[in-house]
């Protein structure tokens, strides 16, 4: 099976078998709760639940760490910015190179709220990504009446993303072997050439793809996967889960 259509996650886990529409709707409902909550306990609870589910699906800790590195870094910086540059009630002060930096209690609370929202929301979307294939997600989006043109472009992009990535690797290696990226001036030129080569390959591939697809009956619109009917147990479970989380959000 081609590596683009392969389900690269633990297919035995119950969550991966869930209807993607149910997962998407539940995730969006929880996402709204996370970003609109006023305290930091609820987002942390969501982060804990989603992180635990990711681990139970067999996602390795290192992969999770790489996925969370950038958002958590941003969360840390926002926390620091809020702590020292927002708020009025002083909590502590630091003397750095003669500069007095005052940490504020209300700033810290605001920063913690934003950081916890980031943690909760990122884990939620990570769980959705780990448990659902891209094709299933696009099908669910199509069911939610996202315009078909957008879905088609996204499917094309996903299908050929890794082909282009491989091409980029080949061009990059060839450039390195021919003393590309030596010094900033040549490095800039090499990056420009790499981007240009990718665009040329994208143009050429689009022509080839179209020819191949037209020969197979492509008339400008792509057929999407058909949905199975909703399963009552899945819907009921999701509704109960979201309702319980909703009650916690209110509390």
């Amino acid at each position: 099976m081609h590596h683009f259509t392969r389900h690269a996650h633990d297919t035995a886990h119950p969550l991966t078998g869930f209807d993607p529409r149910v997962k998407l709707l539940s995730s969006l409902a929880l996402l709204v709760m996370v970003i609109s909550c006023k305290g930091f306990a609820f987002p942390l609870l969501v982060a804990g639940v989603c992180g635990g589910l990711c681990l139970s699906m067999g996602v390795r800790l290192r992969v999770l760490a790489v996925r969370f590195a950038e958002p958590l870094f941003i969360a840390a910086v926002v926390l620091i910015l809020k702590l020292f540059f927002a708020g009025k009630a002083p909590l502590f002060s630091l003397h750095v190179l003669g500069w007095e930096m005052v940490g504020h209690k209300d700033g810290l609370l605001e920063g913690l709220l934003i950081a916890s929202r980031i943690g909760g929301a990122v884990s939620l979307v990570a769980l959705l990504g780990f448990s659902t294939s891209f094709t299933d997600l696009m099908t669910a989006l199509a069911w939610m009446r996202v315009p078909k043109g957008f879905i088609e472009v996204a499917l094309f992009a996903w299908r050929y993303l890794f082909v282009l990535f491989d091409d980029a690797q080949v061009v990059f290696s060839a450039q390195k072997n021919r003393l590309g990226y030596v010094g900033y001036r040549r490095g800039l030129r090499s990056i420009g050439t790499l981007a240009g080569a990718l665009v040329i390959k994208a143009f050429d591939n689009s022509q080839t793809i179209t020819t191949a697809m037209v020969q197979r009956g492509y008339d400008g619109s792509m057929p999407l996967l058909k949905h199975k009917p909703f399963r009552v147990a899945e819907v009921a479970f999701s509704v109960v889960f979201v309702a319980v989380m909703g009650i916690m959000w209110i509390l």
Partner: protein, 369 residues
């Protein structure tokens, strides 16, 4: 065997095969170390984010909704334009999909920024806007951002609207307008491409600063936080814009050399015209750019002159004052005298140099005509 397989596995979190051992482990280790170093350096520099994308969950619900509402009309217009073009050319949708993949790859390239000691990444929307137009470029940006949000945790679903407005709308329109304007003025492809990439990048980061400041300000006033975030972006994004400009210029020039038919097909250049169209205004543009840059660098217009005092004033002078050693007046004080006159004089020198440098070009072109 394929790099893509490894990336796919990394993205979806399945166990790596044992036989791909050494290189995979090494590159993952290198990636992790680079990420940590970038993070540490950026943290030390007090930069709010070394990436353009606003992280998932950072915007509260009302602001996330507002940015979505702002993005939707542009995406709808882009999709309408896409449908119109795809009716005439069946290969257009696959092309747009592949361009989205290119933008995805470009905006995942971590490029070290020497002046800041951090990593940042180009946006790539300038390139897309030049080739397929600003409206379709918004769709491309939206698709690339959606994939990044779902599978790489770059950006997010709740911040997708804000990210589309900053990278898609602001970046695409800034890049496209700049490129078209400069081409109309007769600039060659390299200059127009450079300026388009530069301004697309900077426009993206200005809009990101607006979105971030509005989202995280709480009860604090908007403008001071906006300036703080914008200034914090400067160490990475000022040089990054130049890098993106150079990349865009390199790409357009390469396309013109290798595949001019593609540029003609996408209406980037007219058939039969070369790299430089008749009546080139490159010297004027270069002079204007230099003068504008000089103007921005003068103390009167410096954004940071009041809010961010230097180490000399805030540390050294303060300590000296505490010990009873007042600073003497400098022998040459740039704060005194007719600064405007000096700026005009300097601008005249720079403009004269640029005109002199391109004189032969102007004369030879005149002869050719």
């Amino acid at each position: 065997m394929y790099q893509s397989e490894r990336v796919l596995k990394e993205m979806d979190g399945i166990r790596q095969p044992q036989h791909s051992g050494f290189s995979t482990k090494k590159s993952l280790w290198n990636f992790s170390v680079s990420l940590c170093l970038c993070g540490a350096f950026s943290l030390l520099k007090s930069t709010p984010a070394h990436a353009m994308h606003i992280s998932e969950g950072i915007l509260p619900f009302n602001w996330a909704t507002l940015w979505f509402a702002a993005a939707v009309p542009f995406v709808a217009l882009g999709l309408k334009r896409l449908d119109t073009l795809a009716k005439d050319d069946l290969s257009f949708k696959p092309l747009v999909g592949l361009m989205a993949a290119v933008v995805f790859i470009i905006s995942c390239m971590p490029i070290p920024v020497p002046t800041a000691g951090t990593c940042s990444h180009p946006c790539g929307t300038g390139i897309a806007a030049i080739l397929v137009g600003p409206l379709v470029s918004i769709v491309i940006a939206a698709v690339a951002l959606l994939i990044q949000a779902l599978f790489l945790a770059h950006g997010g679903l709740s911040t997708l609207g804000a990210d589309i407005v900053s990278m898609g709308v602001a970046g695409s329109f800034a890049g496209w307008f700049t490129f078209r304007l400069l081409r109309k003025l007769g600039a060659n492809l390299a200059v127009a491409g450079f300026a388009a990439g530069l301004l697309a990048d900077w426009a993206t980061y200005v809009t990101t600063s607006v979105a971030l400041a509005s989202g995280i300000r709480g009860d604090a006033p908007f403008l001071p936080l906006f300036w703080k975030i914008l200034i914090a972006f400067i160490p990475t994004q000022l040089p990054m814009g130049v890098l993106e400009g150079a990349m865009t210029a390199g790409m357009v020039v390469l396309l013109h050399k290798k595949r001019p038919d593609l540029l003609v097909k996408m209406r980037v250049v007219k058939p039969g015209t070369g790299n430089r169209e008749p009546g080139s205004a490159t010297p004027i543009i270069v002079s204007l750019f230099l003068i504008f840059s000089l103007f921005l660098l003068t103390p009167h217009t410096s954004l940071s002159s009041e809010a961010w005092r230097g180490v000399d004033e805030s540390v050294v002078e303060k300590i000296a004052r505490e010990h009873g050693r007042q600073a003497r007046k400098p022998l040459i004080d740039p704060g005194e005298g007719d600064l405007l006159l000096f700026a005009f004089l300097l601008a005249g020198v720079v403009g004269g140099f640029a005109a002199g440098y391109y004189w032969r070009l102007l004369v030879s072109e005149k002869k050719a005509r």
